[in-house]
């Protein structure tokens, strides 16, 4: 045991001495939380739109005012005719155009019916949809005002309440995702590189010749990263509570236990990669290029898994970060207990054991 600790100390020395890497290791979660918490949002706001108003009457003015006062839109006022709309779209500055035909108000007053045209830049279908919807709501709102002014009977009014997140911000979605991302990437990258480096330098042989079973050598490498990752978890949770204002609803102990499990999963994956690669460059490229995007996508925190075609949904079941993400969401955001997540935990544990067994088997083969 004592000798195991000596190994662990050596590994710690390696890690702590590399200041630049440490800076990034700890800076990464902080930066990600700030980005996700404050910069990124799926809400559509501040979108530049143009209005081509051929009528220039009271009704259009009222509507234009309503649109302008909405936080979703920013009016660009320079366009005169709707032939210029296409060029404006091409320049890439505006996302939507509203065209009021002449006689808008008169039509509304006398014929009780008027038209307007919404042209959306559907490059981003989601934005186009959402903007069109928002604009439609504003028009409907105006319509409802007219109705009330005209004393139209039988009004149904929906009252909406947002759950878990009254401000409709994405934080509850992102924080568990950031945890999954940071833990997985850091652990996989660091272990795989650390082990491969020793292989490359030749020091691995020295370690293996020592009176230790290889498994202890590997474990010793894993320990510093385990502790560092737990520190990262603490950092993320602290940031989440104090900076994002997102409280931890469930059991912190359970959260840590599950995080430890996931860290071990990631370490095992790093181990597997290191066993199968010969150079640092390859290990790094596989860890990063191979893991970054899949982890983001298949965990389900940026894009809903149920939208994906079936084969991809099946793939996501094999991705450990998906299960961890659900566990964290359940415990941290919804405040649920172990009874709700025992299945996911089991799956995660299963994946971990599988990874460890495969790595060890490969490791032994390599040595022989």
């Amino acid at each position: 045991m004592k000798q195991f600790l000596i190994f662990v100390r050596k590994e710690f020395a390696h890690v702590l001495r590399d200041r630049k890497t440490l800076l990034i290791l700890f800076g990464l979660p902080v930066v990600l939380i700030i980005i996700f918490g404050f910069a990124l949002t799926n809400e559509i706001k501040n979108t530049k739109i143009i209005i081509v108003d051929y009528a220039k009457d009271l009704a259009t003015q009222k509507l234009i005012n309503k649109i302008e006062s909405s936080p979703y839109f920013e009016l660009e006022k320079s366009i005169r005719s709707h032939q210029e709309i296409e060029a404006a779209f091409r320049e890439g500055k505006i996302k939507l155009a509203v065209v009021f035909p002449a006689n808008f108000n008169t039509d509304l007053a006398h014929l009780h019916q008027a038209q307007l045209q919404i042209i959306a830049d559907a490059s981003d279908p989601n934005t186009a949809n959402t903007l069109t919807n928002y604009l439609t709501m504003i028009v409907l709102d105006y319509q409802a005002e007219l109705m009330q002014a005209n004393q139209v009977p039988y009004r149904i009014i929906p009252e909406t309440r947002m759950l878990y997140n009254p401000q409709l911000k994405g934080a509850p979605n992102f924080v568990p995702g950031v945890m999954a991302l940071v833990l997985m990437l850091v652990c996989v990258m660091m272990t795989s590189i650390s082990i491969v480096k020793e292989k490359e330098l030749g020091t691995m042989e020295i370690l293996l010749v020592s009176p230790f079973r290889p498994i202890l050598v590997i474990l010793a490498k894993a320990v510093p990263y385990l502790l560092l990752s737990l520190l990262n978890v603490i950092t993320i949770l602290l940031l989440s509570v104090f900076v994002l204002g997102l409280p931890i609803k469930g059991s912190i102990l359970l959260l840590f236990a599950e995080s430890t499990l996931f860290i071990i999963t990631s370490l095992a994956l790093g181990l597997l990669i290191s066993v199968r690669t010969e150079s640092q460059q390859t290990a790094m490229l596989i860890s990063l290029m191979g893991m970054l995007l899949p982890t983001i996508l298949f965990s389900g925190f940026m894009f809903p898994i149920e939208n994906m075609p079936l084969p991809l949904q099946l793939i996501s079941n094999v991705v450990p970060s998906k299960w961890y993400y659900q566990i964290v969401k359940a415990v941290m955001i919804k405040g649920l207990g172990f009874s709700a997540i025992w299945q996911e935990t089991l799956i995660l544990a299963g994946i971990t054991i599988f990874l460890i067994l495969v790595s060890l088997k490969n490791f032994k083969i390599r040595l022989a």
Binding site: A39, L116, T132, Y142, Q143, Y154, T277, T282
Partner: protein, 372 residues
């Protein structure tokens, strides 16, 4: 000049001899381009709604069937109480709950007004937004239908009706992949070029061959060019492969001039490679170079307008994005491929990227000192 040719010969030999490297340059982007756009999909389908009808009147039931027949929603549950429905939200089986209170029909007639209660699972912001909007529209339509049914139009003041025609330009079928693929390609090209160039000089530093170079008459700028040019060419290869995949698999052909894309790519690669070189001059080990490169690339990817819109970011974030070269590339890709934008439209982007290229490469060169 001759020295440069010898340098290039050596670099290319080393690259082509490195099987894994080649596999990565070719296979990884192709595979990711095949999978990612399929996975990255914000289209909101199947919003799951749990309905609670306390009224059980014919009108509340009509509203319910309107909602379920709309095609926007999937009925997750038809529950007896709000509490029951709420549990469906907790277990992630429902996104929204609509409660029609008892006395709905009666109150509407007597008081002329009746509230409905909507609870939205806001953890996934996009769904919440759209779900709410769809529901509002259905309710409004239903509302006007009831009015028409109960009253003859002449018995009340005419309702002003604004008819909205909406059209979708550039992507009439609202194909999400058309939107995502160009952006993802831009990101993949950036990732590969950035990582490879960052690793390259450091590797020589780590192994020691750099000292051998330092002692030779190879000039600073030749050495750096010798590193830049092969990866520049490879960047084109990766990009072209990506375009092929986009065409063959997704049926995407650029609406604008493909030559414009390549012209921008030429400048852009210079900037990215310069960035990678810069990182490698500051790093001592491959591991460090990798990490620093990764750190920046992930920030560029997240803040590039790839997954979330730049317009929605707060002022300070948008300022940061101005320094993100990837955001310009993604923008240009979308502009030229989807909207057919021309040279004039991307002039600004070209200028900025050229500036980036000059600054980053200049800095890298200054940094790389052969003599202490």
């Amino acid at each position: 000049m001759r020295t440069l040719l010898f340098l290039l010969e050596k670099e290319f030999r080393q690259i082509f001899r490195n099987r894994t490297l080649l596999a990565i340059i070719i296979a990884v982007p192709v595979v990711q381009l095949l999978i990612l756009p399929l996975a990255a999909n914000y289209e909101v389908k199947n919003i799951a709604i749990a309905l609670v009808d306390q009224d059980h009147s014919s009108y509340s039931q009509k509203l319910v069937s309107r909602i379920t027949a709309s095609g926007y929603f999937r009925l997750a549950g038809y529950n007896r109480s709000y509490k029951e429905a709420y549990q469906l939200i907790e277990s992630d089986q429902a996104d929204l709950v609509l409660e029609i209170p008892a006395g709905f029909e009666r109150n509407l007639i007597r008081e002329n007004q009746q509230e409905l209660f909507l609870a939205v699972n806001a953890i996934n912001g996009v769904k919440a937004n759209l779900g709410g909007v769809y529901l509002s529209k259905i309710i409004t339509d239903y509302n006007s239908d009831i009015r028409l049914q109960w009253l003859q139009p002449s018995r009340y003041n005419p309702i002003p009706l604004i008819e909205i025609t909406s059209s979708n330009w550039f992507n009439p079928y609202l194909n999400y992949q058309l939107f995502m693929v160009p952006g993802i390609l831009a990101m993949l090209v950036t990732m590969i070029s950035g990582y490879l160039s960052a690793l390259n000089i450091v590797k020589e530093k780590e192994v020691g061959t750099i000292e051998q170079i330092n002692v030779t008459p190879i000039k600073k700028h030749h050495f750096i060019l010798g590193k830049l040019i092969p990866f520049w060419i490879l960047g084109f290869v990766t990009f072209t492969l990506g375009l092929l995949v986009a065409w063959l698999v997704y049926g995407i052909t650029p609406a604008g001039n493909i030559g414009l894309l390549y012209a921008f790519l030429a400048l852009y690669l210079l900037a990215v490679l310069g960035f990678g070189l810069l990182i490698s001059t500051y790093s001592d080990t491959q591991q460090q170079a990798m990490f620093v490169a990764f750190f920046f690339i992930i920030i560029f990817a997240l803040m590039g307008g790839l997954f979330t819109p730049i317009d929605s970011m707060p002022e300070w974030a948008r300022a940061v994005v101005r320094f993100n070269p990837l955001s310009y590339f993604i923008d240009v890709m979308r502009m030229v491929v989807l909207r057919g934008s021309g040279f004039k439209d991307i002039q600004y982007h070209l200028g900025i990227i050229a500036l980036f290229a000059v600054i980053l490469n200049g800095w890298a060169m200054l940094n790389y000192k052969k003599t202490t």
